[in-house]
Structure formats: C-alpha cells, structure tokens
Amino acid sequence: MTLSVSDVKRIADLAYIEIDDNEAKETLTQLSGIFNLIESMQAVDTSTVEPMSHAQSVVQRLREDEVTETDQRELYQSIAPQVEAGLYLVPQVIE
C-alpha cells in the first residue's frame, strides 16, 4: 500500500487536525514506515477466524432507568474555555 501527501492531508482533515505541507510530508515518511510494519499482518490467512474485539467475552450490563447522577453543571463548566448562561460557547454554526 502506498500513501501520498494528499492521503495524509485527507486523513488529517477527517481527524480535525490542522496540518501544513511540511508536516504532511514528514508525516508521510513516518506513516509509510509504520504501515510497512503493519503490512506483515496480511501474510496470515484469517478467512475462518472470528474477530476478537475484546479481551473478555462479557455482555453489556443493563440497569434500571433511574436518575443516579446529580446536577453538577456549574462545577463542570467552571473548567470550560468559554461558557455563558450555562451554555458552552462555540463559533456561530448556523447563519
């Protein structure tokens, strides 16, 4: 598999990380090396193997639909970059 600078920029865009041309070029070299390492996986035939997503085969616990948390909005918002009247502020999205 061969990656290009435009691939790196597209991935960075998907990941919401700003990246300039120089960084993208440097990243390309490193990612290509890492993907070469990862490629060694393809040598093994896994056509009959079930994927293992988790170390323990446990079922998701369920609980009664009850209120278990208290309102701590003020505490949690006290560390936010920008809040007003109990709301998190971000740049305007809708005109």
């Binding site: 990243t27 990612l31 390492l37 988790h54 323990q56 949690y76 560390i79 936010a80 740049p91």
Partner: protein, 482 residues
Amino acid sequence: MFNASLKQLSIQLAGKKISSTELTSEFLQRIQQLNPEYNAFITVNEELSLAQARAADQMIAAGQAGPLTGIPIAQKDIFCAKGWLTTCGSKMLSNFVSPYDAGVIERFNQAGAVNIGKTNMDEFAMGSSNETSYYGPVKNPWDHAAVPGGSSGGAACAVAARLACAATGTDTGGSIRQPAALCGISGIKPTYGLVSRYGMIAFASSLDQGGPMAKSAEDLALLLNVMVGFDARDSTSLQREAEDYARDLQKPLTGLRIGLPKEYFAAGMSNDVASAIEKALDEYRKLGAQTVEISLPNAPLAIPVYYVLAPAEASSNLSRFDGVRYGHRAESYSDLADMYRKSRAQGFGPEVKRRILIGTYVLSHGYYDAYYIKAQKLRRLIAQDFADAYQQCDIIMGPTTPTVAFNLGEKSGDPIQMYLSDIYTSAANLTGMPAMSIPVGFGDKNRPIGLHIIGNYFKEAQMLNVAHQYQLATDWHNQSPV
C-alpha cells in the same frame, strides 16, 4: 525509611512510631530536592497531600486504619483526581483541574492513602520512553543519560529513586512493565477488567488497564488489594468476589511449570538481557520449578496488530478533545471546524497526532476490513496461542524488554524502533492476561533488567507468589540507585 516496605511502614504508622504527616513531609521534601533533576512529577501539591496525611493520622488514631492508611503513593497523571491538575502529559490538558476522582483514586482515598503527587508520563500514555511528555523527559535514576521507559516513566522513576513508597501506572502495550524493567522495580498489569477505568483518561479502551508499581511483589499485592474492585461506571469492569492477593505469597514453587516461549528467546534479545534471564530461570529451577519450551507462533504479529488496534481506539477516544468543554482551545480561528483543527493541532504533540492519523486511516472507508478487522482476527489467534500454551505450563516467563534502557534521544526520531521496545509486552494487552515485571539483575552500563511473568486470566495471586519467592531468595529488588 525511604527503603521500607509498605508492610514495615504500616506497622510503624500503626505503632505511632511515625505519623503520616511526618512521613508525607519527608517525601515532599525529598521530591522538592530531587525532582528538578528527575522530572518524575508533573504536579506536587503539598497542601492537598498534607491534608490527606492529617486525615490519615486521625483514621489511625481512631483505630480505623487499613494496610495503606497514611502511606504516600504517587498517582500517574492519567488518573483524574479532584482538585488536582490532571494533564495526561499533554498540552491539551495543561489547564485541566479535574472536577472528579477516578475510581482508582476513590479507592486509594477510601483506604486512607496519601496522594504524594501526579507523575510524569508519555503524552496520553503513547510512548515507551517518557520523551513524548509535554512536560519534558524523565531521567532514569540508575543512569541519568538513559530513559526511564514509558509511558509510566515518572511512576517508575519515583519508586526507584524513592520519591514515593509506591505508584500507580497504566498499561496499554507495556506501559507499566517496560518502565518497571528499565528502572529496576516491580510492576503488574492485572487481568483486563479488574481495575476500574472510570476517570482513567482513555487511550485504547479494550487494552488499557491500571495497576501498581512498587519495590517488591509483596508491596504489589497490598496495592492490588486496594485497586481491584467492581465499578459500575466502567462498562467493562468485572463483577467478581474480592480476593486477597497476598494469600499465596508464601507457597513453595515445587512443581511449578514455567513455559518459555521459543519466539521470545530468539534473535532480537541482547546478550546481557539473555544472560540475566537465564540466571533468573536457574534460580527458579533451584526453587523447585521446572521449565518447558512452549510456542506462541503468532507472537511476532503482536506489534503490527497492536499498532492497528491501539491507534484505532485512540483516534476515537481522543476525538473528545475539541476545545469546547475543557482543555486547550486555540486563541484565534475562523469558524467551528477551524477551531477544532487548530485546537487539536496545537494541543497534541507529534506522536499523539501520528497515532490519531494511523487510527483514522485504518478505520476509514475502504480500509476497515483490511486493517481493523484483520487485526482483530489476528488478536484471536494470539489469544488462542496463549490458551494452548497454558495446557503445558502454569505460568510463562521471558524478558520484559529486548535491551536495557536506551539513551535519551536515541530512539525519539524513529517511531518504529520505539514501538519495538514493547515487542514482548503488547500480547498480554491484546489477550487481556495479567503480566508483570520484576528486577533480575543489571546489564550493559549497569542498567536494570526485568523478568516478564505472564499468567493466565485471574492468576495474579499465583504470579505474585512466583515473584515473591524469587525476591525472598535474591535481593535485586532491594537495590536502589540512590
């Protein structure tokens, strides 16, 4: 006192030979004096630590003390602790004072332990040398030119340099065991699901597991007794009956079958490490154990599989850092998407960005099956290898790392070389099995060497027994660089 075991300290505290306030003050003083050189701690908060020490002294006076009451323990800066700066080694969280306690912190608080400070670590636990920390590298106390390992490098340094009685770490691919090995201390990653991940800042959720780091296996057992327990707030926390992890420490090792995976005793391991491991195995034979060769045929795939799964999970977990609710926000931006992009570009360091990009790629349209699903299938084959191996042995041993600690700066420019330092450790994360490292000697430049002990699921008490019996017969674990 700085070299005392947790048990000895507990007896002194209970007998009023020393108060927790005195003990805590001594350690704080030591940190103040030595941390500028080691950089093992990101945050020290004398006021908060001493308040806990005073509370512990009251618990002791009231006869309510447990084994860890009043004992100063360093907390890895990945555990949220209420009122403490909790950075995860990142600029992204350099202003994050946690509004709540992690499950692990709660359990230590309930036990009356004192949080002596938050330890340095690779950024978001992504690294094997502590060099990716926004707060700078940590020095290996045995040789200041060497790395302490990572990601729990500050924790390992703090224990080895006697800046704390013990420490917590987290292990996603070897982050407790590798630094424990490189700093000559003991550390255990328990079975996945035993220690709560609530409030433990997530890196790769199906692999992350917290655990203790200490001077000896006996200390680890006491720490595990506090750290392990069900937590309803962690969806993968296991509901099991409480165990006393110290219960089997004294058992003889007669008849123990130690499996030696031939893939771990192959090319790649340096001569000094090979010779120390061989001597440790001889000691085990003297203690009555027998060794059998086993095979883990898919073991060489652990690193490629790990570097698909861990970044995939990380890219998802780290999407929460967007500069909206907490953490770093860029100063200027044109719109919302630009705010995300700039905040994340500024807040994350190069290694974290690299892993987010790998993860985003392997999860992206058209590559999901070829990489992510493929890696999950291989993960099953790796787990099956271990299950087969445990038909022939009780416990598995090998080197924790292929070499002793490398020099600061030696591998920081080469991610792949850095990744390969976890070559023996990452399989235990993929399978979820417990694994530990104990010191078994010194190699090149007099730098420490660790023996890797991998157990079957929930065999922590047996592993600690195996480690403790070795530590009764040898004194590597008592050696200190200070």
